[in-house]
Symmetry: C2
Subunit: 457 residues, 2 copies
């Protein structure tokens, strides 16, 4: 009776649930380098800007309207809005808004956007519980570590089969972060991870719809609820992650168990987090960067006869939409990304408006982009040749795009990106104040006061 | 670039999301036979009793405590309790409690327990919205149809790989039922199904813990939220169920598309629902029934040297626990089930208390049960031979257990089962009144009044 047609069940997997539970509950506060801690602040700031920027998006309106039906208690801040809602709903909505622009962060080993599920959960819970900034940062680091480590265990098989890995590991990260924030012991933290393991959220089929950003939001809420349930004695399998019918073996044919525990407490996955310079999927960034560099070399749209783009196969698989109809679809079009890079020299949220995506010069230029797969290219790279009307060819090869670990955005880059999104919602003065508060986050004693800054007057 | 190691992607699947959306939004009220409608009442009554019965279980306490942290608005009834909570939380808690005893209903083709996710969602939403009993029943039938049809599409492969199918199709049923109750049009119902498709809940690894009943609860909440989001304009893939990276192809290697749509509006899956006479997984029922029949033939525990039990392979796979430590584990032990059947002649929740599972005579008898797999036996059957101290052998073969479609429980059986659970919580008078109200449910104009009956004084 072996009807499991998917995987060869592994009955000898190590007890990683337990090991992670002990880790999350026992690792000392700030038990990592200054660089790691700094990275946590950068992560938080970057994520917060994304949430602020999308606060008036129609997806935010729709989600808030649904939440309002349930008449929640005012407990936690909806970032960039005057409303306060219950903490679980705040986690949901902030998780949605922070991923709406596809402009947040990326754990490059796994394509996980870890702040969406983890920060959304721990901020809302921290506000409710009156936690300190220190506790918040601790929870963020540990939560992201769990989510990304579990991603390392199952990536890429899990992603390849169609799961949106941000929401299908994010609930584990959110549960870990919230368990930490609640001060749960190892037993209850283990239960929190177990409850969360039953709730992976997200299909790649949803890319291009509001349900894509819903994934980190729902994962945030699920993780928080898992921690609250565990706090009050709710039980789950203690081997929910590693058992033959547990999370990993059900959702993946790859199970690199060692990724969960190698160098635990020594290597922090948040170290491998990166921030997006362009408001779209990370796989397009090298292509856009190359076109920005074409522009820097003096190439203009009206000179271009053809743009020959060579990319890694994943680029066309994920973002091969040739004729995007609106801004959201534009994010899944490497063709539009290239056109925006060449015409504007950037690809922020403004360049993904419905109007810009349909503007005739953009449409004309994107149709001149001939994209082909080159199996020899790395995912991080792109090779672009512009063929001009005068017969010239201009070639750019990007090995690592701006925003990558090799060419990271500076703090100033991050502040600029933040202000671009926050100024229109909060006003420049408050946005600047919030930036400073974020840099000092681990010293903040009163998160409620900080949260006030996240709301418009 | 074919990294999908799980399935051969099918790009030609029929548009079942659309077809189901149109069906749910357009099928006329009560567009089925009297027998189907009657079955809906039976389903509701049976489910409600389960929820009432478990209202003071520690899983209920834990879940309520977690909900209370979020300070929800009082909108909807927590069955068998005085508390009212927000509707989504009521769906969650009632979904948990109604499945806590493993005593609810079973769609025998798929082992889905459909009322848990669907009824929990539609009752809470109906109370909030002031719907009529008629609307509630309509939503229940359609919601169960969607959940079970999707189950038919993917069962057994999906279940075999480790998913708890009740929670991984239940969110679709809950979304469908709630969309119906909200009066969403086909477009928005399609979005509701799409949002729900990203939220399958449940791993079989959780069996034996509180997270098993959490699965239908979380599916109920997810489905309700999906419908509310869709009502307010939230979008999802319109092909979220059938696309290559949509629900079915991501969670199953089997995709019997025709099961979703064959005889739609003609054959209703609620017709294949059954109700449990024993408070444990359906696969043990033939074995327990056989032991009850041994008792009816005069066999007593002190006579027994050995019980030879032959069962379908799934029985030992799911319920092969030889030494259950408590009541919950007892539900996953065919050995305890047989002992209870022979000693008590029944296996209701009382026979699954921690005390009974550890009582010496039960422990002694269950250790005399020798269970072996017989590949020739159907899942519905069991073959038991008792070898007695005096050398006699008593043989019982059960082709279909009590509670099966072939030997269904009568209305009186269901009332008796209901009273067994409801009387201790609500009192016999109110329980009797509630039974009558359930039988008349489709005539009820005011669900709030009905809900009052579900709470203790």
């Amino acid at each position: 009776m072996a009807r499991n047609t998917q995987v060869q069940a592994d009955h000898n997997a190590p007890p990683i649930t337990r090991v992670l539970a002990e880790y999350v509950s026992s690792h000392p506060s700030r038990g990592w380098s200054d660089a790691v801690d700094r990275e946590a602040h950068r992560t938080f700031l970057n994520w917060l800007g994304c949430a602020v920027g999308a606060a008036r998006h129609e997806a935010a309106e729709a989600a808030l309207a649904a939440v309002a039906v349930l008449q929640p208690a005012p407990q936690a801040t909806v970032i960039g809005r005057k409303e306060k809602v219950d903490a679980a709903s705040a986690a949901l909505v902030n998780g949605i808004t922070s991923h709406t622009f596809d402009f947040d962060d990326t754990h490059l080993k796994t394509i996980i956007h870890p702040a969406g599920p983890v920060a959304s959960a721990v901020l809302a819970l921290a506000e409710l519980k009156g936690a300190t900034g220190r506790q918040l940062i601790d929870a963020l680091v540990l939560g992201i570590d769990v989510a990304c480590r579990m991603g390392n265990v199952i990536y890429p098989d899990h992603y390849d089969r169609g799961w949106h890995i941000t929401g299908t590991t994010g609930m584990l990260g959110a549960a870990a972060g919230c368990a930490r924030l609640l001060g749960l012991d190892a037993d209850r933290t283990q239960m929190a991870l177990g409850i969360a393991a039953s709730q992976p959220v997200g299909l790649r089929e949803q890319f291009g719809t509001m349900t894509k950003p819903f994934h980190p939001g729902a994962a945030a809420r699920a993780g928080m609820m898992s921690a609250l349930l565990a706090q009050h004695g709710f039980t789950a399998s203690p081997r929910a992650l590693e058992a033959p019918r547990g999370f990993v073996q059900v959702v993946s044919t790859k199970a690199a168990w060692h990724e969960a525990t190698d160098e635990l407490g020594e290597r922090f996955e948040i170290s491998f987090n990166s921030y997006k310079p362009f408001a779209c999927g990370i796989v397009i960034h090298p292509s856009i960067d190359a076109c920005v560099q074409l522009r820097d070399q003096g190439v203009t749209a009206d000179q271009v006869e053809r743009i020959e783009l060579k990319v890694h196969p994943l680029v066309l698989e994920l973002t091969g939409k040739k004729e995007p109809a609106d801004g959201l679809q534009g994010k899944f079009s490497v063709y539009h990304g290239c056109a925006a890079g060449l015409i504007f020299g950037k690809a922020s949220e403004d360049e993904y408006s419905d109007e810009i995506v349909n503007r005739p010069d953009l449409v004309a230029l994107r149709r001149k982009v001939i994209a082909t797969v080159d199996e020899r290219l790395d995912e991080a790279s792109a090779d672009v040749t512009a063929l001009l009307a005068d017969g010239r060819k201009v070639h750019v090869f990007v090995e690592h795009a701006i925003g990558s670990l090799q060419r990271p955005m500076s703090d100033e880059d991050l502040e600029r990106k933040f202000r671009g999104m926050a100024d229109p919602i909060l006003g420049a003065g408050r946005a600047a104040e919030l930036i400073q508060a974020c840099w000092r986050l681990s010293d903040v004693e009163d998160l409620a006061a900080l949260a006030t800054l996240m709301r418009p007057d």
